[in-house]
Symmetry: D3
Subunit: 311 residues, 6 copies
């Protein structure tokens, strides 16, 4: 039997033993597994409140509560895939460019081993070096769940690398194909009325929270599925897409967001997309309450794991 | 005038005086009242995070904020029933079987005095000894509001009594009639794809949160009313049926649950059912924030009190 | 260019510098601006949990996160109005009547200078002296967003001035016109089945949360717009109208309230009303979690600023 | 056997049952007991952060953890005195003068019944009406444990009644004898270099925290005992005398205060004083952490109970 | 080079990677190491507030902050011993006797492999089955740092196994030698004036906190060293020996305890004792603040590791 | 009269109005004042837990509670110096070197205007660019209150600028004179037994917490005064020198530190030193409890202000 499965909660209580993602085995060699879950504990791209560096550890902790079978499909990723906790990607909290390189190198190895990565951030800038590894040969389609588009050009007088800029850089570097990008959940007051114009000009489809409210679940997810089609797709889930009352542990909270049920329902409608990698970012434990954001993140990560496992 | 009424908030401020349920008089003799509210401060059946032993005290504290008349019916239970705080049922935190006996004996006396009990837990295992007293002569119908069915067989190598097993035991002991049981709000990943099969085979009606979302309030509550009809019915409300963002103070949080408004609306549609007892369980103050779970519990307990009082 | 604008977050990080409302300039002379945002740090009218005296400071703090352009209209109040932080209104925490006078005098000067005031409370009793200044010459129409009507007569044996009585006093003093008052979101158990009768007899339109659920957004806001028409209108927003899970930092929480998205949607439908002043009250930081209530309040205050600026 | 004893923790677990002071019986008639413990849930005299109105309830809650015998003397007050929880004194949160009267009347009855009162506040202004009852016939000696002398004259332009003024009023009203007053623990920056002059001119002995550090426990308590001698003495313990790291739940925290061990040691050296009443004030649960201030207060109250019981 | 060393914080940031005790390797085979650190996540012996089941995980988390060399000796246990995280001992949260057996069996294997165990609890009852393994052949000397002696006979009507009884049982079972037991830090009100008599009659040396204050560090630790001499000794450190302001995360807080500096100083004076095993118990994360108790526990565990390593 | 004084708390309540340092006027021109208090909201040099970027705002907030006259000297800095809140120094959260430059330029202007700066950080790396401005012409003497020496060479593979390295850089750049540096309070386990060797070789006097315990207050402060003499001296106070139970809001907590009273006493003995600038760093509000660290920081900052004002 596949040894890359979680410890069973009916044998070892959920609060017991060392916390790994979903209580999975630790496996340092990505080649041995189909899907690797990776922590990326780094937040030096954050422009407001830092803390996402502590995200991977607390999501590991909370993920002990997630069981093995999806409650709607009644299927389990662990029945069809070998999945392990690969540990944390190397980072340097004191040097941004050094970290971007370290992350990229780490993921190039993951790609080489044909392992599908699910990354737990870390701030949203970590998506850029991951995409440099995954989208190197051919630009990917992408689904972004977020309250911000993260396509600003520069901050604080010309600085190009922050958690508000990764997808502008990724498009400039041809890692993702703007025509096949959908950004869902965008909201909150703007710096400038033209904040979204650049993204739209590239061909990105932006669905604000207000537009979502008008279209509803079915129409919205139909639109996402249509745009992305069967392309190889990257899924990037910023926890701040969820309302900060539900997910307070994040650096740039925007009130009026998705409920957890809406978020789960949206992801479940995307199960025909060909996801080849994913990240879940911006979980910031210092601002969390009772670890509730980490618990939500762990449950969302399980939905993502099911999507990537196609169960 | 009925002396078994709350102290009025317009005379004594809500933060003042000793905290009893709804600011009701303390009455040790159940015979003197129609409805008794009882604390059951015990959580040794808990498999994950303990703390529900502290539930009764904090629900008492929060219940000071609940006024006397229902906002929709404009009626008050205190105009038609004598209601008191009966104090806490005896328990033994260090011996599970001793506690099951102590609770059963306590409730057998309640039954003998024809007092309708509303119990504030404690973990969900407390429902079992209560049902042993209330369902002794004839199996009851039951409505369970919960995220779990609590019908697992055993835990940790054959152990039969935990807060995950009470209703399996109660059915085996013929205390409740599975054909007249509805379980609403079930959700969360499963240990096994067959987790719900035993319950369904007994004839229990399970309505998952996903099925609720599809059916909506009216269709769901119609189904519950149809199944239960005019049977003598036990109401058991696990606070973890409500979304953990709303009610974080609980031991086994499952994200993506009911909002408080949905919960209130569901209960209000069940006002033709013949409830002869109820419990509200799994409020765990050590994991609560700002006592918000206790405040919700107090408001739900008031809805239940109105249901049992038929106002 | 208009100097009464916020510091830009792309230049000075949001966590930097002294916290003023929306990072606006401090301006002690109301005459210099079109709209003045004013703190009223006082809560001696509170009958349950005090703490709203700390509201203005924490709303200032949280408001640093609000940017300049409305996400739906893509317009900014700062492009059409001069707006400043006028500091705090004088109060006396140790003498209620002295404070009512101090507030009234302060706002009479605001009225004289033709400055439109947005006040951040403070408990709901602060609305009374503000209305004594704004409604002196002609009774105003009023929209109240709240879980309580605040029209009780007296408390604790005849005392007429608490945060539960301001609108009864304001009607008695002919400062507001009951026929043009709408109160939205009323809920929670009552002291007496006749609690709402006096208000209804005066001609006030009360829409409970239950009625809102039945009517929905469009019908409800249509009704509000119809009743108020083009009258000069005061907007008073009690943060406890929002569900306490979203906005826990308040003194008299009533479970089962509006979500933030509902609240935003309601306000946005009222953009044809002629608002000539507004307050946002009952934010109580000692009971807040993670400043989430203050953040919601800051975002609601921005919606109100847009309404008053007509952008 | 004396029925006015706590419920035993070896029978009923400490977290169980309704929270009364030290798990004592509730007794509404003061005549039946030797010592009555009374809540005074009122804080309208507070000039900075309110919240002490919630003190009595949380001290009751925490006091469940205090057992029956003093750890040094190995004696118990319950072996020599009848002690009960008398409930809360009537107050009016909306009218200061009305409350001062209500408290005075309540305590005049206590005095008439020859019951020794231990009062749990509430803010420090509650000492004034209590002293009006206890010191009516003859001015009392007094020991104040506090970080402030609470002898300011007026606040906010002439207002004479706040929690910063009670002992100035009490001396003016001849309720306490300044020559027999010791104030211990005074510290923190001052409004004016002459802040302490008035008190000293009356003959009050002020021992600042710095002076305490120099003199040490023995010399300090010797001085207190010498000054007070065998006079009938009132003990007033402001929880803010203890360092706010230990006791954060208070309205006017002054850093650099006594540890709990120092506080216990000081009280234990005063066991020859003839205390005829006491209060413990300024416990403010909204600013507490983990109820640690309430737990300290409960333990200090037990020391005081032992002092008054002379065990 | 010894591979059983922590990951270096100068290479991998302290917040990164999976949390093990002191960032040590996970090693399931005790034979491979000299000293094994073991979690015992179980608290069913708790009579008041549960939660110590979560202790091992949070102490692991906090221990990332502890570096490698002792600040006074400038030596490191990792230079002289092979040390690893052995994971958690098996437990059964739903059956006390089953757990006592599981723990004993686990430690019998540890003893057989000649590995010195440092156990992180869990409540204090876990010391009993550990001593059943370690003291089987010859009763051990013991140093207890605690606010309670944990030598009560029974609870709740005759129940013999709780966290208040382990050392009574251990003496009855001849696992420890009462003449060579020192209990330090005992304090808090008592159930009965004779609470300590049984222990003293067995020959146990009890040093209360008051006695410690009189004797001081040197005299106290000299006494401990004299009594224990060169016997094989078990060290059991109950975190509630430390003052609950410093270490609030525990189930039975007793105010007025040791500071952390006192605690460190005491342990450092015991470095000539022949410790052959140790536990650190009663860390209860649900009652902790900011993980400060876990951080203290991690630092105390490092002192213990240095004692056992004789560095 | 000097207008650069705090608003008086007897007129405007302490919770009222916009939060500036000590309620001082905001003054953007340093030339107008003798002493300027400056926020430096930046923490990108942090190697463990970030958050000190939020320090200045919360210290401003807490400083409202500090009155005007020193409790021991009975003197006030505001009677002898013009003091103002200069606002925050410019920073760039996304570029470390750019920030070092921005800070240096800002302080060069302060020096040019002969204003004495008291800086509220920010992490400890901010001391470096400040010293580049203050120590440019002649190396300064320095007193460091801290649990770490912050003289490591590099982190994470050669990176030279973090909050663990500022004083190594400052000595290399000849900004401070190692012979006239005293570092007090050093403690905590070490990365390497030689961690302190470099500093000692330069001639720095290091007084560990253990050495302080042995020497006591008088001997320690005598040593500091002797070493520093009458040199122009920089005072740098890392809040983590204080025990983390007292001051939990910091990034690298080391248990077993100074109490607040010890810290105050130490500073008060240094009042003959010629301080020409100071900073207080590492206050990290996301990890604070109840703002207690900010309150301590505000009180320490007042002590520092008195030292620099020579009152």
């Amino acid at each position: 039997m596949n040894k890359y499965r979680p410890i069973e909660g009916m044998t070892v209580p959920r609060f017991a033993d060392i916390a790994t993602f979903f209580r999975l085995p630790i496996e340092k060699d990505p080649e041995k597994v189909d899907i690797g879950i990776i922590g990326v504990p780094w937040d030096a791209g954050t422009t407001n409140r830092a803390g996402a560096r502590h995200g991977p550890r607390e999501v590991r902790n909370a993920s002990s509560l997630v069981r093995l079978y999806h409650p709607v499909s009644l299927k389990s990723p662990y029945d069809v895939k070998k999945v392990a906790d690969l540990g944390d990607c190397p980072v340097n909290p004191a040097d941004l460019q050094d970290t971007l390189k370290k992350i990229q190198i780490y993921y190039e190895n993951i790609v080489k081993k044909n392992t599908l990565p699910i990354s737990i951030g870390g701030d949203h800038l970590v998506s850029l070096p991951i995409l440099r590894a995954l989208g190197k040969n051919k630009p990917l389609a992408m689904f972004l769940f977020d309250s911000h588009t993260d396509t600003w050009d520069t901050y604080f007088g010309g600085f190009k690398y922050t958690h508000g800029t990764p997808f502008r850089r990724a498009i400039e570097e041809n890692l993702i194909d703007p025509k096949k990008i959908v950004m869902l959940g965008i909201r909150g007051a703007l710096y400038d009325p033209k904040d979204l114009d650049w993204a739209k000009e590239q061909g990105i489809t932006i669905i604000t929270i207000d537009e979502y409210q008008k279209m509803g679940l079915k129409e919205t997810t139909q639109m996402i599925n249509n745009i992305i089609g069967d392309s190889e797709t990257y899924l990037t889930f910023d926890i701040d897409g969820i309302d900060p009352t539900f997910a307070p542990g994040t650096g740039t909270p925007e009130v009026g967001g998705f409920t957890v049920r809406e978020s789960q329902n949206i992801l479940r409608e995307l199960n025909s997309i060909n996801f080849i990698g994913a990240d879940l970012v911006e979980v910031s434990p210092p601002f969390d309450l009772n670890n509730q954001t980490s618990l939500i993140a762990a449950n969302i990560a399980f939905e993502i794991l099911c999507l990537i496992s196609k169960v």
